[in-house]
Amino acid sequence: MTERQHFDEMFGHGDTARETYAGYHQWFSGEDTKRLITKAHAAEVLFRRTGITFTVYGDGSTNERLIPFDIVPRIIGAIEWARLEKGVVQRVRALNAFLHDLYNRQEILRAGRVPSALIERNDAFVPQMIGVTPPGGVYTHIVGIDLVRTSEDEFFVLEDNARTPSGVSYMLENRETMLHLFPELFSRQRVRRVNDYSRQLRRSLAACAPQSANDTPTVAVLTPGVHNSAFFEHSFLADEMGVELVEGHDLEVRDGHLMMRTTSGYEQIDVLYRRVDDEFLDPLNFNPDSLLGTPGVMDVHRAGNLTIANAPGTGIADDKAIYSYVPTMIDFYLGETPILNNVETWRCSDPDSLSYVQQNLADLVVKEVHGSGGYGMLVGPAASRRELADFATKLASNPSNYIAQPTLSLSTVPILTDAGLAPRHVDLRPFALVAPDEVMVTPGGLTRVALTEGSLVVNSSQGGGTKDTWVLED
């Protein structure tokens, strides 16, 4: 019997399939691996043909790449999911309450539960939002919560994505692909549907429309353009929702409303699902050099004539230094105990924590407070002596730019290799949609997988792939 060092979601620590994977494993055992590998290649052709690509910049030229897709699904049981779902809803409610508080009365700061210094010196705090309550009181409409699993029943929140979480198109397309490649699997097992996401997204966005909108508010998706690495997702979502995909040059502020230029004149937009960063939204209110934005759009938002999803300034809630206070928020605003735990986090701005981190650098994962995409991150156990020394220098020169976490023993899910199944580390990003009176979590999410053996970095920009994520019915 194999003794597995990490918890494997298909086999646990042994070599018999866990209950959630029993049905799949039985099917898999009856299949010819060669046939499956051929199918996997077919999936790649399909992705390329339908243009499900992301753009990579480098070497002076641009390339469209596929995010590698693994055909072995990541399966979550009904009971496991019920707990995750509750935990995500709770966290999302707390994040929204925090944002509302922070841009209004700041009670959590006054009560001393979150240090004011963390907000005052933070670029992610947007002063233009002070005193602004968006329609329905919703600040962050679309949230992705990154989770990792370490054992049979332990999940941790790795980070919150409250500004413009991406990856949902892969959740949807991965399922389409699996249905296309292995329809028989879905008649053997009852897997909850994810394809309601787009309809729910449009509904929850419309539910957050300003009062000035009519009964069927006009929603539009704002993209930086075709050269953005996530452009596929932007156009995919606009298409799935049946709304216009707009760029900054299509928009203009007229008579206090945001308008888009159509072939027959200007048409009002009520809800803007923007996939551009705050600083490129409005050159009058933010970055004056931005060519992407629309002058005055922030004023329309402040006047209550436009819903921006997610609202400007939501980044303060997914800041890595704020992250460690989310359990505090859950207690402060909801009076509840966190259902999902945070990973223990050392904030290097704190001298004691800094010295701990400096002494234990080789065992820790150190991240930039504002970093994303896996860049600028140190995975202590995997780093060379040289890399550790270089990082120590960076850390010492700007401690408050970093946080550190223990290296977790992340769960694995097998991927299909030429040699058969092989365990690889995974994470999970479920997506939550927030309407004024409801938080919905799509049963599934984006499972990212580190394709290199032993690697813990799942980011697509760093060689990660994705899997279809199944949530089983009761």
Binding site: R48, G51, D239, R261, T262, T263
Partner: protein, 312 residues
Amino acid sequence: MLGTTAGRLYWMSRNLERGENTARLIEAGLNIALTRSSGALSEWASVVATAGSTARYHEIHDDVDAEQVVNFLLREATNPASIRSLYDSARENARSIRTALTREVWEATNESWMTISDLLANPIATTELPAALRVIKRESAYVRGAMHGTMTRNEMYDFAQLGTFVERADNTARILDVKYYLLLPSLAHVGTRLDTMQWDTILRAVSARRAYRWSADGEISPTGIAEFLILDPQMPRSLLFCSRRIGERLSYLCPGDAELASQGIADDLTERLADTSIEVILDEGLHEFLRRYITDIASISAQVEQNFRFHG
């Protein structure tokens, strides 16, 4: 729909149409080059002229050489009118307006682009040229078929069609203009083997060789060719046919009484063609007639961009 989207649909269609026409133009050039040795080079020079790329060609090449011309028109990256560049830009436009395209149109455009990019990744030898041109024409038919078969007949389709016919009108007029002297009656009596071949080339370049023979009972005459390509109401690449389609699409796009400037020019143009005859055109000067037609098409295009707010 967004003005930007309309503009990209329009240009996507123009570029696809132009790519297909360029493939035909090369095919016609190849045909004449294969059958004759002397004068082949001047034929290639006139192909470059018809493609409207003479100046750009001479920026990178000193002399006219068959393989250089072919590869310049097929795959030269610095030539925005090379087939590869045209497909790159059509596909880029398509990608940016995926929400306005059916899945079939997007996939056809994307796949064609992949096939053509692979095909043209390396220089094409003359021996491989016929096969390569067949692939390009087939891919182009694939995209056209997807558009025809799956797009709802709404304004998006109208803008796509508008782009197709504006480009086609311009291309047919240019082909005629480069060879106009061959179609003048003064040369009609010459009827040398060279002329017959040249006439044949003109017809091939607009894919009208068989259609013309059927309509002219197998007889080839320069005036007949000119009449067919300018005034035939059924030939899908004739100037009259293209002008009518342009006017039609503009009238669909502009419901109500207020006539757009672009529509005004298109209607005048169609009327002028419908009311004239080939004798009158030749009498007043074929070259002058074609120049005026090309200018009118360009003004329609410029007006369309304004009328439908492509850029603001």
